[in-house]
Amino acid sequence: MKAIKIKGLSFKYVTSSRWALKNINLEVDEGEFVLITGPSGCGKTTLCRCINGLIPHFYEGEYKGEVVLFEEIKVDEHEPYELADKVGMVFQDPESQLFMTTVEREIAFGLENLGLDREEMKNRVEWVLGLLGIEHLRDKAPYELSGGEQQKVAIAAVIAMRPRILVLDEPTANLDPMSALDVINTLCRLRKEMRITVVIVEHRLDMLAPLVDRIIVMDKGSIIVSGNPRKVFSKEVSRLERIGVEVPKVCLAYKELISATKSEVPLTPDEFVKVILHAKKECNRSKGSLV
């Protein structure tokens, strides 16, 4: 089943004279983990807003084409609140999303809006606190928390509504590396345990490339590259660098040194070490010339 099917989607904000999205065609399988990246202004955020219905319901503009969830729900025909248990959205700045006085209430807020009864709400709050490993934050105020903790609370509040698709727009942009890794690892775990479809917009390709099923690269409102990370980093590195996408350093080093060998492009430092040791063996065998 396709969790998301986008056909011929173009969008122009009412405040702008140029198209933010130009004829986007994209299908995402249920359970798939997809990374969207690209330079500033490429349309990543706009595309996210089209998946959760903020476009066309909240942001006005010219809208062409269609976005269909789970083969039947046309996003432009349903108000965002009707989509709340289908698509959950996490933003770059958790402070813009959190506003209640305790973490527990923050999580319960969305559930109240879904109209769940008290018992069910309690169960879901417990479940999601445990799932994210944040029981100890229960009675704290969101503003007392670190950036990484806040982002986990934002994710918990969204996950509590049991959406089938989770869309995250640069959720780690303001976090230090360890907190970012922590949030990303949490996402991976959630995805496995809940079989949820995850679409994440990020610049941190070094952290995400080894984890995602597919990388989608956008530039100037269009999708220009789409494929699994190994395919993308073995074929498209020069193009990605040209448009301003930060390619993991091990992929760049591989391209400079050993892409002529038969080994696959490495996505992590550990993989790079294996590939280079293998290349050394080959070199020794052929008396020093690079294969």
Binding site: P39, S40, G41, S146, I243, L252, P269, D270, I276, L290
Partner: protein, 285 residues
């Protein structure tokens, strides 16, 4: 000739009014004229609080900070700002004028420059930052990357000796980061001192050789990026991750003695190329 100290921090303690905990706990630090330094550490380590002492926005509770010989406790922010230009993390906290040109000229007006001369100087800097086409535009309609360059322009315009950039790479894509690095390198090559506060480890690995690492209000390490950023113990304490090339180097240290700043891709590649082409047999391979 030995370079003079432009920033001296001695046993600096600071806590925010009404807060219980010290944010800075006995910081000692010397920065020399012409240095290019990264101050790194996790969110909340005290990095921003420290650099706010460099232009006197904050004053020490204990200890002292001297900027170009001036004790910050005895001078106003306006006096100190002539020496230290601080570019904040969030451009929206800094931008307020109605056009890009006015924003850039603001400091010069305050310093009493003749308007025509100020305009010429502002245009010069805006050209350097690639913003000349926007002089009559409202700063608020600029993109995130452009706003960042505007805030740098509005500091560079009065030519301070020391430039402090707080998290300049947040929200910037790779192309914008590269341009930012070029700007930093150019300013530094003119003899200016540049201090970059950041937790963008790959940015530092690629462009900055000298690193200070903070954790919980103290400095836990200072030195060459190739040493500090590859030290697991320091990285763990500071909640940072080593750069990718650093992790590779560590895993290969039994086989290869890397020379030079191997955190920079060309140097890293050259080290490995030489090793691959050297046909001596390596133990264990």
């Amino acid at each position: 000739m030995p370079r003079r100290n432009v920033i001296e921090v001695r046993d600096l303690w600071y806590k925010y009014p009404e807060a219980k905990e010290w944010v800075l706990k006995g910081i000692n630090l010397t920065i020399k004229e012409g240095d290019l330094i990264a101050i790194m550490g996790e969110n909340g380590a005290g990095k921003t609080t420290l650099v706010k002492h460099f232009n006197g926005i904050l004053k020490p509770d204990k200890g002292y900070v001297k900027v170009c010989g001036l004790d910050t406790r005895e001078h106003t922010v306006a006096e100190l700002a002539k020496y230290v230009g601080l570019v904040f993390q969030n451009p929206d906290h800094q931008i307020f004028a109605s056009t890009v040109l006015e924003e850039t000229m603001f400091a010069l007006k305050n310093f009493g420059w003749d308007p025509e001369r100020a305009k010429r100087r502002a245009k010069e800097v805006l050209k350097e930052m690639g913003l000349l086409d926007y002089i009559n535009t409202s700063p608020f309609s600029l993109s995130g990357g452009e706003k960042k360059r505007l805030t740098i322009a509005s500091i560079l315009v009065y030519d301070p000796e020391i430039l402090v950039l707080d998290e300049p790479t947040v929200g910037q894509d790779y192309g914008q980061k590269r341009r930012l690095a070029e700007i930093i390198e150019r300013i530094n090559s003119l003899g200016k001192t540049v201090i970059v506060v950041t937790h963008d480890i790959e940015f530092v690995a690629e462009y900055i050789e000298h690193v200070i690492v903070m954790s919980r209000g103290t400095i836990i390490a200072e030195g060459e990026a190739t040493k500090v950023l590859c030290d697991d113990n320091i990285m763990k304490r500071a909640r940072l991750l080593p750069p990718q090339l650093g992790m590779v180097v560590k895993n290969l240290e039994d086989y290869i003695d890397f020379k030079g700043n191997f955190l920079r891709l060309p140097v890293f590649v050259e080290n490995l190329r030489r090793w691959l082409e050297n046909d001596e047999n390596v133990k264990g391979i």
